[in-house]
Symmetry: D2
Subunit: 458 residues, 4 copies
Amino acid sequence: AKLWGGRFEESVTDAVEKFTESISFDKALYKHDIMGSRAHASMLAHQGLISESDRDQILQGLDHIERQIEAGEFEWRTDREDVHMNIEATLTDLVGEPAKKLHTARSRNDQVCTDFRLWCRDSIDTIVSCIKHLQVSLLKLALKNDGLIVPGYTHLQRAQPVLLQHLLLAYVEQLERDVGRLQDCRARMNFCPLGACALAGTGLPIDRFMTSNALGFIAPLRNSIDAVSDRDFVLEFLSANSIIATHLSRLGEEWVLWASEEFGFIIPSDSVSTGSSIMPQKKNPDPMELVRGKSARVIGDLVSLLVLCKGLPHAYNRDLQEDKEPVFDSVKTVIGMLEVSAEFAQNITFNQEKIRTSLPAGHLDATTLADYLVKKGVPFRTSHDISGRAVAVCVQRKCQLQDMSLEELRSISPVFDEEVYDFLGVENSIRKFSSYGSTGTECVASQLNYWISKLGIK
Amino acid sequence: AKLWGGRFEESVTDAVEKFTESISFDKALYKHDIMGSRAHASMLAHQGLISESDRDQILQGLDHIERQIEAGEFEWRTDREDVHMNIEATLTDLVGEPAKKLHTARSRNDQVCTDFRLWCRDSIDTIVSCIKHLQVSLLKLALKNDGLIVPGYTHLQRAQPVLLQHLLLAYVEQLERDVGRLQDCRARMNFCPLGACALAGTGLPIDRFMTSNALGFIAPLRNSIDAVSDRDFVLEFLSANSIIATHLSRLGEEWVLWASEEFGFIIPSDSVSTGSSIMPQKKNPDPMELVRGKSARVIGDLVSLLVLCKGLPHAYNRDLQEDKEPVFDSVKTVIGMLEVSAEFAQNITFNQEKIRTSLPAGHLDATTLADYLVKKGVPFRTSHDISGRAVAVCVQRKCQLQDMSLEELRSISPVFDEEVYDFLGVENSIRKFSSYGSTGTECVASQLNYWISKLGIK
Amino acid sequence: AKLWGGRFEESVTDAVEKFTESISFDKALYKHDIMGSRAHASMLAHQGLISESDRDQILQGLDHIERQIEAGEFEWRTDREDVHMNIEATLTDLVGEPAKKLHTARSRNDQVCTDFRLWCRDSIDTIVSCIKHLQVSLLKLALKNDGLIVPGYTHLQRAQPVLLQHLLLAYVEQLERDVGRLQDCRARMNFCPLGACALAGTGLPIDRFMTSNALGFIAPLRNSIDAVSDRDFVLEFLSANSIIATHLSRLGEEWVLWASEEFGFIIPSDSVSTGSSIMPQKKNPDPMELVRGKSARVIGDLVSLLVLCKGLPHAYNRDLQEDKEPVFDSVKTVIGMLEVSAEFAQNITFNQEKIRTSLPAGHLDATTLADYLVKKGVPFRTSHDISGRAVAVCVQRKCQLQDMSLEELRSISPVFDEEVYDFLGVENSIRKFSSYGSTGTECVASQLNYWISKLGIK
Amino acid sequence: AKLWGGRFEESVTDAVEKFTESISFDKALYKHDIMGSRAHASMLAHQGLISESDRDQILQGLDHIERQIEAGEFEWRTDREDVHMNIEATLTDLVGEPAKKLHTARSRNDQVCTDFRLWCRDSIDTIVSCIKHLQVSLLKLALKNDGLIVPGYTHLQRAQPVLLQHLLLAYVEQLERDVGRLQDCRARMNFCPLGACALAGTGLPIDRFMTSNALGFIAPLRNSIDAVSDRDFVLEFLSANSIIATHLSRLGEEWVLWASEEFGFIIPSDSVSTGSSIMPQKKNPDPMELVRGKSARVIGDLVSLLVLCKGLPHAYNRDLQEDKEPVFDSVKTVIGMLEVSAEFAQNITFNQEKIRTSLPAGHLDATTLADYLVKKGVPFRTSHDISGRAVAVCVQRKCQLQDMSLEELRSISPVFDEEVYDFLGVENSIRKFSSYGSTGTECVASQLNYWISKLGIK
């Protein structure tokens, strides 16, 4: 019989029980459910709502249950619907009457929100630490490839030369904002719903500040209806995860490209590659393909939750039971994506030789040439035009800008002088960059130092 | 060691193995994988690519494996990556050399597509039969409530009276189009990828028409690259499911509303209701809330797959491994939604008394009054205006249109005569409807007969 | 001819020009584009990259262009592609040579990001002020309905009595978190990309801190590649908007329900209602239906941007041109939703009489009864059970809990005494609530005061 | 004053009028609205509900209005809300009384659905013809590059050689299924809602079959509630569009890759390329980047509509006004994507020389080698292993498989004989493919002929 069965004469059908159960997934909340019950029982005793002996029996029972669960010896029963009812019912089996008092001044509505916020809070901490690990891995990869110049792309066309370190730090920057979003989300969700009960609070003399403190929340939520019915904290969390996943999907794309025969920039080690069941020569960067692909489910999870919440009236609706699986999936997926990206970063080698020999292609120094002209006093639009015409000559002659004679250059514009050759070629280009945040050697060195210190790398 | 390990010197790291494995979910394809392998082995033997004895050992081995799996005795190994490799490797353990020939002229790329199309095809058939069951349940509910007039709503405001049967048949119509979409999708996906191999086909003398026929496909797919790299068949399937889910979310919303104290139109039986852990008087229509809510994950699954496929170059990419879980989830969810909706339909009673007494509210006959005026030759816009003014009088006097005296009506327009009372009141309204597809008694009766015959109800 | 046309021999086809143009929508950025150009020109002059006379001519030209645009006299040309090229080309028409120097040490890649961040920053400020306006409107609505008790719902079933004020404050709380999200987003996006140029920075001696300060940014972005290629700031913004929209969709649903004949809680004034083209008696709460419905496009806009960014390699890709329309649409829609919700709040009257007479339905005091029993020392689970049985009697007898005689109550449990009647009825229920954040009279009054002071209402 | 204003005393506020108007976008339906009104007026006259003279004046008035609109001389008024009211009110201005009879037995609810289905039907026809045009363009591109071998990829790693024609035909196949989806959708939506009126039909003696025929529908919809409240026809349409967009995003990705310096397979003409405002040497394949990027909005549009419809009760709700803009946007975008893809296909040249010289990289013939071994009687798994070891030798020695001496090969497996060289090298590989649907020369030629004939190319 259900714990809420008082006025019910018939039990639910099997199909309904199966469709409405949540125990198959919400048991993941067991640790936080027990944590919440401990705090609640202690508060009830402190307020004189239950006796100290009741409390002690409850606490001992909860300890026992937690050990059982962690030993894999707890029997999860679908007829007991969810994690809350499973634990409470088992507690009643264990300690009897005192257990029946645990649900005093509490409803599953505030209980599940409390558990879920605690779970999300822990998950955010885990994700943040995985992000840091990836940042460190990217930074170490940068340090291993000091001075390596790679083509910078726009429109996937070679644009300007950049230091590989500069590109890797772009990811580090993006991940740092991801951390910021998670931390803001954590701070905003770290308020306690416990004591909001079904939706209206209670007339029993509870102390919500005591439970809130015990559970590490900043304060109790101010409005009981809001407390049990809003899920904006998970929407925000899954949004942050979706942005992380989008960032990683770009890293995935980039590294898949770089591992191709055509780019050939990186060589993943066997330990992060897989082969083909039919083509014996294949060595595929599968982990990064999956990083790219798994971004899709993180986005899908967010969409599910937005659709779920759309148009629901106050306060709690059973629809909200569907809030958990997308979050569990999003968290697990993002953690996996971060871990595997870090592992990949640790297991690739840059093919410096191939990169270097391919650098002349694409006239990466054309913009530096235009800057040279600007320094000579030519208006930018005219400089751009002159450079463009010089490139056109090179394309036709299949040569590089630095291969053009001064005479040839001067036939395009009389402004050119010998000094121009100090601006041509990718190494010169890189040397010339000087603006804050640019790919110039010193600028990048200074950024590297910033991150080495910030991430505590030795 | 992996089956593709030939040129590999290191095995993948644990994190990569865990991140890239699919066996935890793609084992759901085991039956169709074995089915495909049987057809393939028979074809290979028929074409002389393996011996008849090889084929027989393979077939016996597959039979054995199938029985093991169904008995729960098969050991699924993560180091064997996926369902295909698990079955093939176990087959090799069982029958030795012949098993090593099974993958002749086949790749996992075409194999998984074949399995997946077979699985989807079966799932479509299951969903179609669940839809039929729900249609029958709705129709039976209609037959039980012959003649019951309910308010028809627009903007959730009472608009015109309709027969409950008419409203229930609206759902039957929508579900019928859902069936149509699934059938079109099934027909379009029912082509065989087997023999496309990795992406380019093979030089071995296989007979793709033979395997296609054996597996019940219409024909082999015409282009091997297309065969292994497109997933439009699942995008279409999940789109069809999303539309079904959207339809059911509307039914869910409607029935949740109707079960409220305020509407009070339906009384769900205890067998499809649940209670509250804190509020003893509650009896909640949870199954229909979850039907509404679970539409969110079906939509999320579709979005995942669209995002997944976006921007992938040809041919197979590992991202596509992520195509399965959203489909499995979508199918399971839609089936549950359909089953529970049918069960709910079978377990609700209409509160005819309450509905009848509430019918006067809302001036549902105002449009019939306007039609009366049109019949009298008043232009529609003028009729609408006159009716509107009559309603305004009723609102002020808190009465019904039929409560107005002829004199009062004539003070609004001299066109009114005694006959007007034959058009007022919801029963008269319903009687007057006569257009094809309308809620008029005879129109609805004829539609009911159409569906009784089409759905084969006795 | 395009400004970038140097090496091009053919101009693009009409179809390509039409497909790739952005001027039809990105002209919305004109004010921020001009603002950015002013800061850039001033910095160039300060750094000696252009003369003071050049700068002055540029600034005067920009002033002129801004006035032209605001007077509707500016000719936007599709062959000039986008807002940046339109303004720069017109500036060249106006002031000649100096204009050709404006694009020195700048690319459209950093320019558009700068404009867009400035535009988003302003939009956030507008949305925040619309939210405040809605909060004030809700609070004033609460103040107008002091003491009004309404049913609190879970599962759309009547659960417990709550003060209307308490419910309205739940929305105020949610909106406050929405403000917090926007402010966090604003702070995180308020960094300056200008000077990142195409992707790599520049070798010209610019001062990025000067432009950053002039434009009110906190600092220049640290990494030029990151600066031009990431769009996480709009993803975060659209996520925040989607959460706002989801909140408002719930308000929309609630008020549509409440305006129905069946609930009848609110009466919208004619000024926020619309009628029917066919049914003269209809008065529909269309604005709130559209608030609910328009949440869909805000969510769709977010999804568009997530899909857009998925899998793009560094740095800038033309795909990113598609980042603007969803943001423009999201912002416009959210502002409209907020404004109209506020207007609706100001134009509804609560039907206090109807609400009061309907309150007895639903046994809203059953939980208070259970609390009474807990206070008497009965374990909660047993109290819940006793209350449940009392309700069952009431359901059968069609009476209220307070209509039961003490004798009847004691036949269910001997614990009952006279004092029980002090706990029955919704007014008593409300009086009993005392926990922090609950719907108790004093708790709500204290929350009201908090918000009156915080929102500065007189 | 609104046409529905009968019982209203106050007009709506400006903010509400602006928020709820639809004329700014639904005027796109004008042609189909007039078409529907013509059919409706003719039917009303035929049924004796209006006079022949009324009908003639209405028809003349509608002709006049249509001409005005097409000449850009029609005044669209926001205070007249939508396209229907604008046209009807102007008609009344023009012809007086008869116009007031046009809305007899019609509501905006059935009217808008009729218009919208007609509009979607036409749009489907347009999209189908754009698809055919793209298919033809791809086919012609294939014919221009007869015999060109390109690397086939899986995991973006070179896998096996394929004929370019084979790859282009894969797109043709996918587009053909897209046509099929649109045609199924068209057939399912081609039923007429007109006469369903507000939601319940009418008591006036209309002939719905007559209007349905006149408008080219298959038949009137069977259920009036279903007719006005379901939007599954647009959900299905936008799903089909999303799948098209996903296909095109893949084409976009592929061609962006191929246009890169690293791949260098295609050279887009200047007429489909754009340049950079800062980097003079750039020539970017922007149209295909935008094809890839614009897939995002097509997917976003679908999501909007799914979210919109989720959880709406019957029948019409004002939310549904939001159904149009996403559809208009989706249609316009998909047409643009198709047109520009076709134009791009017509304006690229394959760099046959570069492709040919790069073909040796990647050991594309390794699978053909394994097939050779299978033909020699080696079990496939063993063949795969032997080939894998041969490739490993090549990787180490930086040579091709065909560069290995027979002795070297035999040191790996004694099975090798002279004939092996007939299987090595990409040309041999291509020649060996023979399975139906494979990339073998004859197979592809036969597929080309199939499509040439099907698409009617001369």
